[in-house]
Symmetry: C2
Subunit: 169 residues, 2 copies
């Protein structure tokens, strides 16, 4: 994107990318979320799918619950003791575009010869879904579906922008 | 999203999310890319902005160069020795929607009181840019600009889907 924020002047420690990654910027965390989007809710199922160590999975689930992306709910199967399942909250569901964007990059740049293992369809019509960068004014770009690219984007200081402590006048 | 892939039957080790995170699924890596999108090219500038340890930054830049997201180019300022700068490749630029999606989640769910520190404008018209999940058939949803949500998405096995070794018939 065209650089119009002087990074030597503005603080970067209040960046929303950094804050988001502080919650989900760990490989297993995003893979746990991936399984949640696939409808996996139970520790044993997620553990079996990911092959992750149980203590690591427990820690990642805990992080996601603490930050409100998953909620932990008790359930009990007949004749068994109470257990817990993990469900996506609205806050967790809002990460879906980021997950799809990561998937689409991998589909394009790190594919198997056979192609992507998963496709996303619009539930209503069966057409493919994609993540696109879109302009509020409705302008079209060169992306797959008329989306824009990084070259069409100009970052500008937002309402929460702060000058760096060492910024010169 | 509506779950229609049985995760107990299909392999997950060929997932494009996992492969992508194996390259960029580390907090500093994404922050280095963020600075590249802001137009920062030089080690000293990126290091000053991020406040990351020099050896960590060197390792992350190396990873991004090895995977073809950045390219390392020599430059020389008058009277100084040759140095290197790092530029985004097309492969790196393609990660922009994922970066914006992470930023938008943070803008919404982890904001300062003052609001987001950065806004993205369409270079041509100045209107805001957003990442949206869009349907190839053009159907609209409830998202900010008519985009769809996770609830509109159905994952289906793609051409590269493989059954798990332990899948039952």
């Amino acid at each position: 994107m065209a650089g119009t924020i002087d990074r030597t002047r503005y603080a970067s420690d209040n960046c929303s990318v950094g804050r988001t990654l502080a919650v989900v910027g760990e490989r297993w965390t995003f893979l746990v979320l991936r399984e949640a989007f696939y409808g996996q809710r139970r520790f044993e199922d997620i553990q079996s799918t990911l092959g992750v160590a149980r203590n690591v999975l427990a820690a990642r689930l805990q992080t996601l619950v603490e930050h409100g992306l998953l909620v932990r709910r008790p359930y009990r199967e007949p004749g068994k003791r109470e257990r817990f399942e993990y469900r996506l909250t609205d806050r967790g569901t809002d990460l879906f575009p980021a997950l799809v964007a990561l998937m689409e990059w991998g589909d394009k740049h790190l594919p198997d010869e056979a192609g992507p293992p998963v496709a996303l369809e619009h539930r209503d019509c069966g057409a493919r879904l994609h993540v696109e960068l879109v302009c509020e004014a409705g302008h079209r770009g060169d992306g797959a579906l008329g989306g824009l690219t990084a070259r069409d984007a100009t970052p500008v200081p937002g309402p929460g922008a702060r000058l760096r402590d060492d910024a010169t006048a």
